[in-house]
């Protein structure tokens, strides 16, 4: 019972203290997993994080799934995920329920208007962070080009972003594949002996 309880406490605590979505809770999860409950080493945590980052979808639940599974199998993963997400979902239902029941009130509509620019700003800031991440990885010219092209397709031609994302994913895969092949060829030409011995 104790491992389940520890998973529940650890993931509930990170679920209710991390602000700004899953990515901002990662350091908190690391603290629980590595320092507090010693479910894994810092290296292993880093490895899983790197792997989880290569996959789409929310990051915190991917970490909860893996860590829970490592500690106590399928049940452990379930406990970790649910204790991580449920408190905030229930709080959300309660808060929005209250807000919705006063929807007609001018005060509530004023509150909604007041918060709209703040959300706009937060989204703009998030957009900037993703832009920075992109230009760190791809370089500024490519990032701006990709951004301009996607803006054109989504905003003016009305494409579903999913099609665009899928197209970019496939091209990136293909480009990296070609590069790998080219590098392999160079290696084979220069180091035939080493290839054979390994």
């Amino acid at each position: 019972m104790k491992p389940y309880l520890e998973l529940a406490i650890g993931f509930a605590r990170t679920g209710v203290t991390g602000y700004g979505g899953g990515p901002s809770t990662i350091p908190l999860i690391e603290y629980e997993a590595v320092k507090k409950y010693k479910w894994m080493s810092e290296e292993e945590f880093g490895e899983i994080l790197a792997l989880a980052n290569t996959m789409p979808g929310p990051i915190a639940t991917k970490m909860a799934a893996y860590i829970g599974f490592k500690v106590k199998g399928g049940m452990g993963a379930t406990v970790a995920i649910l204790t991580h997400i449920l408190p905030s979902i229930i709080a959300m239902l309660a808060l929005l329920g209250v807000l919705y029941s006063f929807r007609q009130s001018p005060i509530v509509s004023g509150m909604v208007q007041g918060v709209t620019p703040v959300i706009g700003f937060m989204l703009a800031e998030m957009a900037y962070r993703f832009y920075q991440k992109g230009s760190k990885g791809l370089g500024m010219p490519k990032t701006i080009l990709l951004a301009a092209v996607s803006f054109l397709f989504v905003q003016f031609m009305g494409w579903h972003p999913g099609i665009l994302i899928a197209a970019v994913l496939i091209s990136a895969f293909y480009i990296a594949h070609k590069k790998e092949k080219a590098e392999k060829k160079v290696n084979e030409e220069f180091m035939p002996a080493r290839e054979k011995s390994s």
Binding site: E47, M111, P117, I119, L123, G134, F151, A176
Partner: protein, 176 residues
């Protein structure tokens, strides 16, 4: 079949969202507002505001709430399963092949290449919210609130939930 639609909407949004929950927000908006017409943009904005004011992962809060609005507890469970399960199972299953995967230049380039698109999608959303604010409450309040958001969130690192509750308070008094 609403449950199937719920599943599909959240499955697609999370499948395409590289970069954690926040990256999936514009994709969820497209499914929920544009493709299925379950909410207006301003309703979606309210949900996003409250989700940002509360702690915890953002994608699951959105999925849980929108799923619940559409189909009760079962709707919430389906939206959450579509959000979490595919990637959670993939991490557990693929960890065995982690070394084949993690350093693969293919995966790295794929992840990097999606970032600019997500940035654009988020920027378009930000613009829509600014436009809504401009139409409903005028340029004065918009500039003031956006400027205060910048100083509190970026310069003084005030807790986001405090900024959101502050804005709700401000709106309740001055914009009602």
């Amino acid at each position: 079949m609403i449950y199937w639609d719920i599943f599909w909407a959240f499955f697609i949004a999370n499948l395409l969202g590289y970069g954690g929950g926040p990256a999936t927000i514009p994709l969820i908006q497209i499914e929920v507002v544009n493709n299925n017409g379950w909410m207006t943009l301003s309703e979606f904005g309210d949900v996003l505001a409250i989700a940002n004011a509360l702690p915890g992962p953002i994608a699951t809060k959105m999925a849980g709430f929108i799923g619940y609005e559409l189909g009760g507890v079962l709707g919430a469970a389906i939206a959450l399963a579509a959000t979490i399960l595919p990637s959670a199972l993939a991490v557990i299953l693929l960890f065995k092949f982690v070394n084949l995967f993690k350093d693969s230049p293919k995966v790295k380039l794929m992840t990097k290449s999606v970032q600019p698109i997500i940035a654009v999608l988020l920027a378009i959303m930000a613009y829509q919210f600014f436009l809504t604010a401009f139409e409903n409450s005028g340029v004065m309040h918009l500039v003031l609130l956006a400027a205060v958001s910048y100083f509190t969130l970026i310069k003084f690192k005030v807790h986001p939930s405090l900024v959101i509750f502050g804005a709700l308070f401000y709106g309740g008094i001055f914009l009602s």
